[in-house]
Amino acid sequence: MSHLFQLDTVKYVCCCGSLKPICNVYFCRHCLRLRCHYCVSHEVDSHYCGNCSENMPSAEAKQKRNRCGTCYDCPSCKQTLSIRATTIQVPLEDEPEKLVAKKLYYLACGFCRWTSRDAGLPDSQNTSGPWAEPENPLAQQIIEISDYFRMLAIREKNSKDKKFVQKSKYLAAGRHGVAHLLPRRYPVSVPEEMSKPLPTPLYLAPTEGMEDLPELSDDVYEDELIIPKVTSLTQRLRQLETQPRETSKLLPTHKQLLVKRSLRCRVCERNISKPEYSPVSIKFKIQLNAYFHVPQIRLMTPLNEPLVPGRKARIVLRLANPTQFPTAIRFLPFSFVPLQKDGSTDKRALDAGKFDPTRESSTDHSLPSHTLTPTTSITFITPSMTGGGTLGSGESTQIMKEIHVLPRRSERFSQNCDVIPPADEIVLPPRDETSDFDDFAETPDFNDDPKLVPWRKANKAAVYLDVIRQLTDGSEPPVLGITIEYDYVNTIVALESKGVQEPQKVRLQAHLLIALDRIPS
C-alpha cells in the first residue's frame, strides 16, 4: 500500500533498536534522541466509553470496575446493545376499563437480535434499566476468606517485627523449597507463639461427597442436544461470575471503558505524548513526533534492476526539513550501535553487516559492566555552552541511563548496501507552510552542485546517492543502511531558562534503513 511516508521502505532506527517508519517514531526534545512506542513508558491518561464518548474520572472508573454506566454489551455477540421502546396498553388505576398507552423499554442487539427478553428480563419503565447483571452468589464468602487471610498476614507481619523469631520460622515450615511462598500457617515458631491457636477461618468451602453429587439426570441422555442453546466459551468467559451453560441465562454486561494513553520518555521522564482530556478531541497537549523534528527522507527512484554484490548503483532520495530552522544534512556510512552492556560483540556484529541488537543484550544482563558507546553522537557546536569536559560527562551519564532504563528490541535487520557518502552537505531552508501552496515560489539558490542536487523546492531537495552492494549473499533484497547528520536547534533550553540562554544548535545523527527495491509511492 502506498503511503506518504513509505511505511515499508524507509525505516528509522530507534535508540532501542526498533525499526519504525518516521510517523511511528517520537523525538524526545530533552534527550535529543529518537524514541518509539516500545521504549517509552505508557501511562493511562483518561478513561472513556467508546460507545457514548463519555468521559469518566479514574476514581469513578475504578469504582465501576472500568465499565460505562449507561452502555451495555450484548452477552451473545459483544456488540453494543441499543434501547428499544414498545408501547403496551395498561388499564388506568382508577378506571380499570379505560386503557392507556404506556412506554416500556428493553435492550436489543442489532447484530445477533438478542433482546433482554431472551434472558427473561422484564421490560423496564426506564431507559436506564436497571437490568440484572451476572453476580457471583458466593461473593460474600469470598470476602470472608479474604478477611481471614488479611488477618493471618497481619499476624505474620507483627511476628516478623521480633527479630530473633524469623530465623527459625522458615525452617519450621520449610521442608521443601517452596517455603517462602507457603501460606502463613505457622507465623512464628517460638513456643508461646506456636501454642497460640490459629484463628478459625470465617468461611470454609463445603465439601461434597457421593450423596451430594448426584449422577447426571436422565434428561441428559434422552434430550436431543441443540448446540445453539448451549453457550460458547467466549460467551461464558464474558460472564465469569456465573459462566452459564444455557444461552437463556446470558445477561447483559456494562460496556468496558477504553483509555487514552500518555507516553513518557524513560530516560528524562518527560512526556512525549499527552492527549487532550476530552474523549471526542483528537488533539494532543504534547506530541513530539519525529516528523516534526527529524529530516524526512523518502526514496524517489528505487533501483531499476537488481543490484549485484560489489556493484554500484544510483538512487535518488528526497529530503525535507520539517523544523523552523535551517539545517545542513551530511550523509555518512551506517553507524548505528545498539545499546549494549558488553562492548565486545559490537564490532564483530557490525563487521558482519548483519546483527540483532538484542540477541546478546536482552539475554545478557550483566549490569555492572558496560561500555560507553554512544548510539547517536551529539556534538555541540554552539559556543554559548560551557566547556567540552562537562558536556562529555553529561553525555556519558545519559548513555549510561539509557543503557539502564531503555528496553531493547530484538528486531532483526540486515543491511547489505553501503552509501558512498558525498563530500558536500545539503543545506535545507526552514519549513514555510505558505510555500506548500505557492507553485511559483522562488526556489532558493544554494549554489548546489547539479551532480548532487538535481531538484530543490522550498524546504525540500532531491539528492543523488551512489550505493554499493556488500560482497555478501546476493539473494536478499537490497537494504541500504545510512546515517545522516543534521543540525537541530534545541529551543527547549531557551524555554526553560526563560530566554537567558540562546537556543542551542546541535549536530544530531539519525540512522535509517532503506529498502531499495520497493517502488516508492
Binding site: 455477540c77 445477533c112 437480535r113 431472551d118
Partner: protein, 178 residues
C-alpha cells in the same frame, strides 16, 4: 405458459424483474430492481412481504416455492430456499442456499451464507463471520408501518403494475429452449 398474478393491494414496481410463474399476495411490496425469478417451478409469495431493491428470489427446482407472510428480503439478499414460512428476515447481502427450508421467525444476518441441506428451526438467528447460530426467544415483529408507508409512497414515484390487468410475461429464454 408463464404468468404473473398480483393480488389487489400488492405494490409491484414495473422496474422489478419478474419471470416465470409468480403469484404475489396482497400488501406485498416489490421494489424496483428486485428480482423474482421462477426459472424452474412457480414462486408463490404470501401477504405483507417486502422485497427490497436488488433482492433476488429464485426457484430453480420444478417444485413450487412457497413463501409465507410478513417476510422481509433486504437489499442484495439472494434467497433460493425450498420453502419459507412467516416472519422471516433476510438481511442485506445474505445468501440462502437452495436445499434449505425455512420455518418461521428466522433471521439471516447481513452477509451470512447458509447452504447445507436442512430444515431451519423456528426463530433461528444466523449471524457473524464465521457463522454463528442462536435461537431467539421471539420472532421479529411484522413491518406493518413500513408496508403502509411504502404502499402510499412508492406509487408516487414509480410505475406500478396494475393488479387487475392480467398479463402474460415473456417466458425465460432458457425455458424456450427446453
Amino acid at each position: 405458459m408463464a404468468n404473473l398474478q398480483i393480488t389487489v393491494g400488492a405494490v409491484v414496481c414495473v422496474e422489478a424483474e419478474i419471470r416465470g410463474d409468480v403469484r404475489i399476495g396482497t400488501k406485498t411490496i416489490v421494489h424496483p430492481c428486485a428480482k423474482i425469478l421462477a426459472t424452474g417451478g412457480p414462486i408463490v409469495i404470501g401477504d405483507a412481504n417486502i422485497v427490497e431493491e436488488l433482492a433476488t428470489i429464485e426457484n430453480k427446482s420444478p417444485e413450487p416455492m412457497v413463501i409465507g407472510n410478513n417476510n422481509v428480503f433486504e437489499v442484495g439478499s439472494l434467497v433460493k430456499a425450498k420453502a419459507i414460512g412467516d416472519h422471516n428476515i433476510f438481511e442485506t447481502k445474505c445468501f440462502v442456499g437452495d436445499e434449505i427450508s425455512i420455518g418461521n421467525g428466522c433471521v439471516f444476518g447481513a452477509g451470512t451464507k447458509v447452504t447445507p441441506s436442512q430444515a431451519v428451526p423456528d426463530n433461528s438467528v444466523f449471524y457473524g463471520q464465521p457463522l454463528k447460530h442462536r435461537l431467539a426467544g421471539e420472532r421479529p415483529s411484522a413491518q406493518t408501518l413500513q408496508i403502509d408507508f411504502l404502499s402510499r409512497i412508492l406509487p408516487n414515484y414509480h410505475n406500478i403494475i396494475n393488479p387487475t390487468i392480467k398479463r402474460e410475461i415473456p417466458a425465460l429464454p432458457a425455458e424456450k429452449t427446453s
